[in-house]
């Protein structure tokens, strides 16, 4: 991967934090639970790191840690998105009732 200087990474980090603050600040309480669960699924992005660690031809220890990380992260990602969808599926307005 292309090496990016640390200071630039920090810059990206801070900017992303600001975006996160802005995105969430105006959410109605109705959606707090699905939002928490959806955001939680996104934090499973660490699966990308788990793939990179596991895929490299490291030693046995690296492999074991990597696979454990993949399992944990996949549970977070798959479960998180699915359960959020299950919750949101039920949010209906009065008009759209069958």
């Amino acid at each position: 991967m292309t090496e990016i200087p640390l200071i630039l990474l920090l810059f990206i980090f801070v900017l992303a934090c600001f975006i996160g603050f802005e995105l969430i600040s105006k959410v109605p309480p109705t959606l707090h639970t699905p939002l928490m669960s959806g955001a939680n699924a996104i934090s499973g992005i660490t699966i990308v790191g788990a793939l990179l660690v596991t895929g490299t031809d490291g030693g046995l220890v690296t492999q074991i840690l990597g696979v454990a990380a993949i399992i944990f992260a996949t549970i977070n990602v798959v479960g998180g998105f699915m359960v959020t969808d299950r919750m949101l599926e039920m949010f209906k307005k009065k008009e759209d009732k069958k």
């Binding site: 640390l6 959606l31 895929g55 840690l65 996949t74 798959v78 359960v83």
Partner: protein
């Protein structure tokens, strides 16, 4: 997967991966934005899922990845476990499930950092900054893992929902946290030292336990929200370790979003975050029952028939649902009753306290499951001015969120928490199994108010009886 591609494409691959990562990030940002409105929320979640999917797929083309057997095994196991959990869980157990998923996410980030560290026989070539973020990633990830599982245990009832604490625990916790940070500093100078590493890991796991154990059950929503923020931060730190900006950005987004949500929760309970973390209240009966001067403690009971008449001839009824309603699985019966009342021309509204249920917005999800349209649900600020003109308030399985002690008794642990001002209504009916205390573990003078009537029994059975009585009217 890059070995299967012709060299001409491989040369562009690093740039292509970075570009696709941008697309992935854009999906996350757009997804989070859409999650903020009821009409678009589902689409937002799907967008975020797509972003995750393309992020994962393109990563497989990274030339760092050369073996796939273990990846496939891991992804398969994780997908099956995650899918089964997501499909099977009851909506009432949503807080537990989010806590568990969250714990796994945090644990995964710690493992990623640890795995990366384990690739080097001499980790000092990783450089000081990478070693620091490795340490932080393991610290935050590990404490998220154990903290989330303690929160899960408390919600599930495996661990007492009461605040378990002893004098000095806060100092031990703060001391351990400072200790871990110092050790991470030492670790960067001596990264081959196994002892330092194991102490960092062990202490981090321990801090997760000892910092959640002293927090009372009533504060679990705040804790889960905060741990959610931590798991994002842990992912972001793992991104620094790997120099992967997709992890850094997505983790930071979640970290910031979780923090905002935590703040909203704290505001709803009129408590500061430090108070929640270090205050240890809940179940502390010695300070909670202040104001019981042994005066009039009689309660007035009501029956299904009597209540049916009261609500059927009211012009406005507000339903205040609490977690007890969900436990009794009474959402559908409530909906049925509300429909019956509406047919009779009674105006029905639901007043939802921000911390009703055990997670912000949890009650909304439970009512949505029962097909209650979300435009009938009113926030605390919207419904409070309406109580004065309300004939009957039905408080079903809620307790602490309508406890007037938060306004009258400065010695009460919930003093200052904004509540639903149900005592302004002409009549309040409390559906409750017994006169036991609520989640916060304190008595409720509302039960003894002369405008209040108690309807004892299981919420679902009581409501069914009420529905029957309404039909007979």
């Amino acid at each position: 997967m890059s070995q299967f591609l012709p060299d001409s494409i491989v040369a562009f691959l690093p740039d292509a991966i970075q570009l696709i990562y941008f697309v992935s990030k854009a999906f996350f940002i757009r997804g989070l934005k859409l999650l903020g409105s009821p009409a678009t929320a589902r689409k937002g979640n799907q967008l975020a899922a797509i972003g995750m999917f393309i992020g994962i797929i393109i990563t497989l083309f990274d030339n760092q990845i050369i073996s796939f057997e273990w990846i496939i095994v891991g992804v398969l196991i994780g997908s099956i476990v995650g899918a089964v959990l997501a499909k099977k869980v009851a909506m009432t157990s949503m807080p537990e499930l989010v806590a568990v998923f969250n714990g796994f996410g945090g644990g995964a980030s710690a493992l990623v950092a640890w795995g990366e560290l384990s690739r080097f026989t001499d980790p000092s070539i990783m450089g000081t900054s990478s070693l620091i973020t490795t340490g932080l990633s393991i610290f935050i990830g590990a404490l998220t893992l154990t903290g989330s599982f303690i929160a899960f245990g408390k919600l599930q009832g495996f661990i007492s929902g009461n605040a378990i604490t002893f004098p000095g625990l806060n100092f031990i916790n703060i001391g351990s946290m400072i200790g871990v940070l110092v050790l991470i500093g030492l670790f960067t100078f001596d990264p081959t030292n196994q002892t330092i590493f194991w102490v960092i890991l062990g202490l981090s796991l321990l801090i997760g336990i000892t910092s959640v154990i002293p927090i009372g059950g009533a504060d679990m929503p705040v804790v889960i929200s905060l741990l959610n923020s931590y798991s994002g931060l842990a992912a972001s730190m793992a991104g620094f370790v790997l120099g992967n900006n997709l992890l850094i950005v997505s983790g930071a987004l979640v970290g910031a979003a979780g923090l905002i949500l935590t703040q909203i929760m704290c505001k709803a309970m009129n408590r500061s975050l430090t108070n929640v973390i270090f205050g240890s209240f809940g179940g502390d009966s010695s300070s909670g029952t202040g104001g019981n001067d042994g005066g009039d403690k009689t309660v007035r009971e009501t029956s299904a028939e009597d209540l049916a008449i009261q609500v059927a001839y009211a012009s406005k009824v507000v339903i205040v649902p609490g977690y007890g309603l969900a436990v009794a699985q009474a959402q559908h019966v409530v909906k049925e009753m509300a429909a019956n009342l509406e047919e009779r021309g009674v105006q029905v509204k639901y007043g939802i306290h921000p911390v009703a249920g055990r997670m912000p917005g949890h009650m909304n999800v439970l009512l949505a499951e029962a097909d209650v349209p979300y435009d009938q649900l009113y926030d605390m600020d919207q419904i409070n001015p309406e109580f004065a003109s309300t004939d009957v308030v039905l408080i079903i399985g809620a307790n602490d969120v309508v406890n007037p002690m938060s306004k009258t008794s400065p010695s009460s642990p919930i003093y200052g928490m904004p509540i639903l001002n149900v005592d302004e209504a002409k009549r309040t009916i409390v559906f409750k199994r017994s006169l036991s205390f609520g989640y916060a573990g304190i008595d409720n003078p509302l039960f003894y108010d002369e405008k209040n009537q108690m309807f004892f029994g299981d919420a679902k059975k009581s409501l069914q009886a009420l529905n029957e009585a309404l039909k007979d009217l």
